[in-house]
Every structure is written in structure tokens, then in C-alpha cells.
């Protein structure tokens, strides 16, 4: 595994989606969708609620519920994802809620993310301390997550995901619940870390500012889950090619 250098480069590969289609009880929910996110790039998927954005991320994680039918393929760094269980995919995800485990301390939450094959206790503790320092949370290891502020919890959640050494990062509106001042800082924090690790990052959101801050390609989904070539209310500023290919 990688060493203790948190800012170590080049963990990610390329995230590719080929004709991905999600159906729910015979009705098309999303797709067919093809896109490629290169290492260190951020692609934003935008669309109204209910268009299947979150289901797309669940599909990539492997946590999509059994009632969905899927078609198409997803590959990460050349590996086919579809046949892998979630815990083997090395796809990290951040949700709107931090979902820190309430029974574990901050440090234990981080340790939960750290791969078990790093066995040495001291090395594990050092990685966790380094992660905390990176988030300006030195000395917070023994704290109850419930006693942290929303922004602090969000940073711990990101670090927990990064410590699990993912090869791609999925963001399921993780900025939505933070207040505006915090949102901007946390956004930059997330994108900086994703770029530093060269992770292909897929962001779903309905907030155009998220998309703008991400700075990458933007894919618009219609309410029926089809990919649009242009945003529904074009204001010129956000007009970009629909599919994240030729750049």
C-alpha cells in the first residue's frame, strides 16, 4: 500500500461509464449515459431531484438496491466495476450527511477507513494524526463526532474516505447542508484533496455554484434521466459540451 504521505500523488486512474442505463420496474430512470473522468478531473452531473443522480452514484458504488435493473458498464483504471462488491471497488463516496459513525470517536472513524493491511499500530495512529492535522483538527481524535461543528464533521468525513485509499471519488451533494460561508471553504478543501491525489471525481448536485467551483465538465440530466446537450435554462455562462469527452 501507499506510504504515510497523505498528499501522495497519483492514486487515481480513469473512471469510465459506457452506455450506463438504470431502470426501475421497467421504467427508464437514467441514461443511457457515457462519460469519462480522467485522473484529477472533476465532472459534474446536474439535474432536478428525482432524475436518478444519486442512483447513478449508488450504481458506481455497488450499493444500488436490488429493485433497480442496470445496463452498460463502468470501469475504474481499466478494472470492470460491475462484478465487484462495494468493498472491493475502491470507490469513495461523500454524502450530503457526514454519516460519521456515532458510536466511534473521531479517530476511530478515521481508523475505520484506513485499510487493515497497514497493521502497525503506531503507523496507523500517525496516519490518523496527519489526517487530523490536514483538516486543522489536531487533538480532536478522542472527541465524540456529535460534539463537532458541521464543517468539522464534513472534513472528517472526507478524510475518512480518503484514508480508505479510493481510486475515484463520488460526491453526492456533499455541500448542500453546510451554510454558505462554510460551503465555499469545504468545496475548495474537497477539490484540492481530490486533485492532489489525482482522483477522478464525479459530483452530482443541483447547485450551479458547485458545478462552477468544480471547474470541470458539466453534464445536464433532464427530469426523465436523459442526458441533455445543453442546460435547460441556458444562461450562456455555464454552456459547455454535454458529454465530458473532447476537451
Amino acid at each position: 500500500m501507499t506510504g504515510s504521505d497523505m498528499a501522495g500523488a497519483g492514486q487515481g486512474g480513469r473512471l469510465e461509464l459506457l452506455d450506463v442505463e438504470l431502470r426501475l420496474r421497467g421504467r427508464r430512470l437514467l441514461g443511457p449515459l457515457s462519460l469519462t473522468v480522467g485522473a484529477g478531473e472533476v465532472t459534474t452531473v446536474m439535474g432536478p431531484s428525482g432524475c436518478g443522480k444519486s442512483s447513478l452514484l449508488a450504481y458506481l458504488c455497488g450499493t444500488l438496491e436490488g429493485v433497480f435493473e442496470t445496463a452498460g458498464r463502468a470501469r475504474l483504471d481499466g478494472r470492470a466495476l460491475d462484478s465487484l462488491p462495494p468493498e472491493r471497488r475502491r470507490v469513495g463516496i461523500l454524502f450530503q450527511d457526514d454519516l460519521l459513525f456515532p458510536h466511534l470517536s473521531v479517530a476511530d472513524n478515521l481508523a475505520f477507513g484506513l485499510p487493515a493491511d497497514l497493521r502497525d499500530r503506531a503507523a496507523r495512529a500517525a496516519r490518523i494524526e496527519a489526517a487530523l492535522a490536514e483538516a486543522d483538527l489536531e487533538g480532536f481524535g478522542s472527541r465524540d463526532p456529535a460534539t463537532l461543528s458541521g464543517g468539522q464533521r464534513a472534513r472528517v468525513a472526507l478524510l475518512r474516505t480518503l484514508l480508505s485509499e479510493p481510486q475515484a471519488l463520488l460526491l453526492d451533494e456533499p455541500f448542500g447542508k453546510l451554510d454558505v460561508a462554510l460551503r465555499d471553504r469545504f468545496r475548495r478543501f474537497v477539490f484540492e484533496h481530490a486533485r492532489a491525489r489525482a482522483l477522478p471525481t464525479l459530483l452530482v448536485t443541483h447547485d450551479p455554484f458547485d458545478a462552477e467551483a468544480a471547474g470541470g465538465d458539466i453534464l445536464h440530466l433532464a427530469a426523465d434521466g436523459a442526458a441533455l446537450s445543453a442546460p435547460p435554462e441556458t444562461d450562456g455562462r455555464l454552456l459547455r459540451p454535454g458529454l465530458a469527452e473532447g476537451r
Binding site: P85, F101, S164
Partner: protein, 582 residues
């Protein structure tokens, strides 16, 4: 979910694939373990009831057992007693619960009462009945408290306050004992309904709170109370231990009569007993059908009442006063029964009209120490074993359901309730026959297995809602961090569900401690628990000795509940979001 079926080659010990297969077998194993004996038990009771009993060299079919049953002079009285006490007890308990919740929805009183319910639920039926008898008997604590200054009695009055011919004492005790269960079930149903909004709408239309609750909330939640209510009805009509203590002996209730026949030294009486046990089942089925008819009738009348548009101005004060008073009296009786038992167990000398013992002593406890420790040990082992097995099976079933993305079916709830709806006396004899066939009769396996039949449904009912309500995204987050499903189960789900798990375990333990008839039948009389000892002593032993056993019987599950609340509270003392109230 497809990924739950994937073999996980390099999980710890390489056993993940096998454990998933095991998990998939969990529902089938559970159903077999607890429905098999019920079905076999019913069959094993019905066959002798129609004269087929190879052990005695009899092969049916024959109507002789039924003819003997119908000809028995005790039967008509027993039937009347059974129906009065069972129906009155159930009706009283559910009316009290509905009236009280309607009158005090959202009030502090209801919240306070709720905290009292778990400990009251934990008190075993036998202990409650014995405490009730100590309280209400002509020489009981209540009469002592009002004598002689108010009543003028210097000797116990010569009236049948308990074991009264009509079975009213048993009915009253059933009301007190079943109220906590029905109240908790009702409150749980309320939490899963949008009662607050319904009430707000009705109130804004000018309905007084009680009328608003009865007209808009009750119809919405009754469906969820129905099965537990039927279980209470079935239980009340066939209870043995409470009837032995509180109902008259000549004639006793049908269930007690059947037990006497099963224990008759004349083995041919077993056939009559089997017929009586089958009749007991028939009576419960009939009573449930009758109750269903009553529901339909009340539903029709209720719709007319709702359409009438009355706002309930008169109903309001009457319900509040009546429900409040009866609930308070019921809780006082329950508390008095517990305290009274403690007093009796510590009494050296307690002459009749004295309100308290004149001499206190621990001699009763010391004299009975050996017996208490021995029967307490059996009770504890039995309770722990059946609870742990039930918990493992229930968690495996729920985790399997979760991993395979199965939707819980309403119909499966009926299966779960089967051992609670079928009267114990109607199938335990057949279970005993089965145990003899399997050569496990009178041993620990048969005993634990029989307890499991009754522990399992309660543990499942207590665990299912919290398990299914756990935010699924925690599981997904943990999986995406690279944790295997097994690791997620043990490191994320179980710790987060510690509190409901502990409470479910405490409920299961209390259910096991309370079992009288199953211990008697499956143990072939070879195992003495606090429950069997307390009930058999209550037939005539020194009240102070009975008090020791009954109090110990009540104390054991109470301690278990205290532990179930204290352990997660202590473990999670520094975890704010897991410290919340139950």
C-alpha cells in the same frame, strides 16, 4: 442484492462465503425451529383427543375422549369462568389503554407512564398474580391498610375477594398485567403514524382532544394493535399460572382443568385432557372471530359517530377523569403488589390489622437460600440460553433480509404470532410427546427449545423496527470505505443498535422467566425454576416463603432491564447521539 451473494474470497478466515449461505438459511431455520414444534404439538394433542394414543395401546378414531369431556361436571363452570375472566380482562385492558392514550396524547403524563411500562412488563405473570393476591386477599395489605380504623374489621372479613366464583380477581389482574404491553404496542404504532398532524387538523376543526384522537388516530393505528391484542386475548383465555393463584379451584378455568387432567395419575385421563386442550384452542379461535365481529360492529357504529360530527365536549372530561383514575389505580395496584411481596418476604411477625410487620427479619430469605439459589440458577441459565439463541436467529434473519433487499411481508407477522395466538395448553402436550420421540424430554435441550418458542417472537418484534429503521446510508458509507458486509454488521450495525438489542434481550429474558406451563411440560417436572416454585408454593405454603420466591422471580427480569438500560448508557456515555432516551 447481487453483491451480497458474491463470494468474498479473502475475508477474515475465508469463511465469508459460508457465513452468507448460513445467513440465507436463517429464516428457514428459524421458522422450522419455532413453527415445527407448534405444528407437531398441535397434531400430537389432536391425535389423543380422538382416541389415538399408541403409548397406551389405543388407536382411534374414537369420540370417547370428547364424550368424557362433555360429561365432566366441572366443564360448564370452567367454560363460564374462562370466558368471563379472559374477555373481561382483555376488554378492560384495551379500553383502558385506548381511553388513556386518547385523553393524554402528547402529555407529560403519558411520557412518564411510558417509562414505568418496561419494568412493569418485566414482572412475570406469576409474580404479579401472587403480589395481587397478597394485596387483595381478605387478609391482604389493602384490607390491613383500612382496618380497623375505617372498616371496623379486627379479623379478616369472610368474603372471597380473590378466587371469587365469577373470576373477577383474575380479570382485574389481567387488566393490570396486560395494560403495559398493550400501551407500549399502541405507543409504538403511534410513532409510526402521523398522529400529530391528524390531531392538529381535527383540533382545528373544533374537535376536543379525546374525540379527535378516537375519530382520526385510532382508525389509523388499530390495524397495528390488532395482532398483539389477539395475542393478549388468547393468553387471557388460557393462562394457567395466574388462574392457579387468583381463580377459584372448583371449578377452575378450562386451562387449569386440562392441566389437572394431564397430571392425573390415571393415564387414560390424558385423552380427556387432550380433548380439553383442543377445546381450549377452539375457544380461543372462536373468541378471536367474535372479537373480529365486534371490531366490524364498532367500526360501523364508529363511522356513524364520526359522520355525526359531534366534537366530544361531554366525552372529554368524562374520559380524562375515568381513564386517569383507573390507570392510576392500576399502576398503584401493580406497585403495591411488588412492594407488598417485598414486605412479606421480610416480615417476621405481621398480625392481621397491622399496616406493617411488627417484626422484620431476613430469616425467610436465609432459610430459603438454597432453594432460591438453585431454582434461580436454573431460571437464569434457561433465560440466558433461550435469549441468546433467539437474538442470534433474529439478527441473522434481519441481516439476511437487509442484504438481499427483501421487503418484510405483513403475512409473515402472522407466522411470528402463531405461538402467541395458539394457547400453550393446546400444543405443549404434543410437544412433550415429540420430545419423548426425539429422546430429549426432560432435558435442557427440550426445555430451552420450548422457551425459545415464546422468547423468539417477542425478541423479533422488539428488534425488527429499530433494525429496519437504521439509516441504510451508514451501511453504504461503511461498504464504500472498504469494509466487508460482515465487518459492517459487527462494527457498525450492532454497536449502533446496542440499545434496542439490549432491550430486546431483556424482553426475551423476562418472557423466559415468566414461562410456567412450558417449563412444567418440557422439563417433565424435573426442572424447578423460580416460577414453578412460586406457583406451586402459592397453593398453601407460608406467605412469607411464597413472597421470597415471587419477589425473586420479579427481581431477576427487573435487574436484567436495569442492566439493559445501564450498559449502553455507560458504554456510550461520551457519545451524545447514542445516549438519547428509549
Amino acid at each position: 442484492m447481487a453483491q451480497a451473494l458474491q463470494p468474498l474470497d479473502d475475508a477474515p478466515g475465508g469463511s465469508a462465503g459460508r457465513s452468507i449461505e448460513l445467513l440465507q438459511g436463517a429464516p428457514a431455520l428459524t421458522l422450522l425451529l419455532f413453527l415445527g414444534p407448534v405444528a407437531a404439538g398441535l397434531l400430537g394433542t389432536w391425535l389423543p383427543a380422538v382416541g389415538h394414543f399408541p403409548a397406551l395401546g389405543l388407536s382411534g378414531p374414537s369420540l370417547a375422549p370428547w364424550q368424557a369431556l362433555i360429561a365432566d361436571p366441572a366443564l360448564p363452570g370452567a367454560l363460564k369462568l374462562t370466558l368471563t375472566s379472559g374477555l373481561l380482562g382483555t376488554l378492560g385492558a384495551i379500553l383502558l389503554v385506548i381511553a388513556f392514550v386518547a385523553a393524554f396524547h402528547g402529555s407529560l403524563w403519558l411520557a412518564r407512564l411510558r417509562r414505568l411500562m418496561l419494568p412493569l412488563l418485566a414482572v412475570p405473570h406469576a409474580a404479579a398474580a401472587i403480589g395481587f393476591a397478597f394485596l387483595l386477599a381478605p387478609s391482604g395489605w389493602l384490607i390491613r391498610l383500612i382496618s380497623p380504623w375505617a372498616s371496623g374489621w379486627t379479623r379478616p372479613p369472610d368474603v372471597a375477594l380473590i378466587q371469587d366464583p365469577a373470576g373477577l380477581a383474575l380479570a382485574a389482574a389481567l387488566v393490570v398485567k396486560e395494560t403495559p404491553f398493550l400501551l407500549l404496542v399502541t405507543l409504538a404504532a403511534l410513532e409510526q403514524s402521523n398522529a400529530g398532524e391528524r390531531l392538529a387538523v381535527a383540533r382545528s376543526l373544533g374537535y376536543r382532544p379525546v374525540a379527535a384522537w378516537l375519530k382520526t388516530v385510532l382508525p389509523a393505528i388499530y390495524g397495528q394493535i390488532r395482532l398483539p391484542l389477539y395475542a393478549v386475548l388468547a393468553f387471557s383465555l388460557s393462562v394457567v399460572d395466574m388462574a392457579l393463584v387468583l381463580a377459584p379451584g372448583t371449578p377452575p378455568t378450562l386451562a387449569v382443568l386440562v392441566l389437572q387432567w394431564f397430571n392425573d395419575p390415571d393415564l387414560s385421563m390424558r385423552l380427556v385432557a387432550a380433548a380439553g386442550a383442543s377445546l381450549q384452542l377452539g375457544i380461543v379461535v372462536l373468541a378471536i372471530l367474535l372479537w373480529r365481529l365486534l371490531e366490524i360492529l364498532v367500526g360501523l357504529l364508529g363511522r356513524r359517530w364520526i359522520a355525526g360530527g359531534r366534537r366530544g365536549d361531554l366525552l372529554e372530561p368524562a374520559t380524562r377523569a375515568l381513564a386517569g383514575t383507573v390507570m392510576a389505580a392500576s399502576m398503584l395496584l401493580a406497585a403495591g403488589a411488588l412492594v407488598g411481596m417485598a414486605l412479606w418476604s421480610l416480615a417476621g411477625r405481621w398480625r392481621f390489622p397491622d399496616a406493617l410487620p411488627s417484626l422484620w427479619t431476613q430469616a425467610n430469605w436465609l432459610r430459603e437460600a438454597d432453594g432460591l439459589l438453585a431454582s434461580g440458577g436454573v431460571t437464569l441459565l434457561l433465560g440466558l440460553a433461550s435469549t441468546v439463541i433467539a437474538l442470534v436467529l433474529v439478527l441473522a434473519c434481519l441481516e439476511n433480509e437487509c442484504r438481499r433487499g427483501l421487503q418484510p411481508l405483513n403475512r409473515s407477522l402472522w407466522l411470528l404470532y402463531a405461538p402467541l395466538l395458539v394457547p400453550q395448553v393446546a400444543f405443549l402436550f404434543g410437544v412433550q410427546v415429540l420430545a419423548v420421540k426425539l429422546r430429549i424430554d426432560g432435558g435442557w435441550i427440550a426445555l430451552i427449545w420450548t422457551h425459545l418458542l415464546f422468547v423468539l417472537p417477542y425478541v423479533f418484534l422488539a428488534m425488527a423496527y429499530p433494525y429496519r429503521a437504521l439509516d441504510k446510508r451508514y451501511e453504504r458509507a461503511a461498504l464504500c470505505l472498504g469494509a466487508s458486509p460482515n465487518r459492517v454488521f459487527f462494527r457498525v450495525k450492532l454497536p449502533m443498535l446496542m440499545r434496542p438489542i439490549m432491550i430486546a434481550a431483556a424482553i426475551g429474558f423476562a418472557v423466559s422467566v415468566a414461562q410456567y406451563l412450558p417449563t412444567l411440560f418440557a422439563g417433565s417436572g424435573r426442572f424447578v425454576t423460580l416460577t414453578t416454585e412460586a406457583v406451586s408454593l402459592s397453593a398453601g405454603a407460608d406467605r412469607r416463603i411464597v413472597a421470597c420466591y415471587a419477589f425473586a422471580q420479579a427481581l431477576l427480569p427487573l435487574l436484567c432491564f436495569a442492566l439493559a438500560l445501564a450498559v449502553p448508557a455507560w458504554l456510550y456515555r461520551d457519545r451524545r447521539s447514542l445516549r438519547g432516551a428509549t
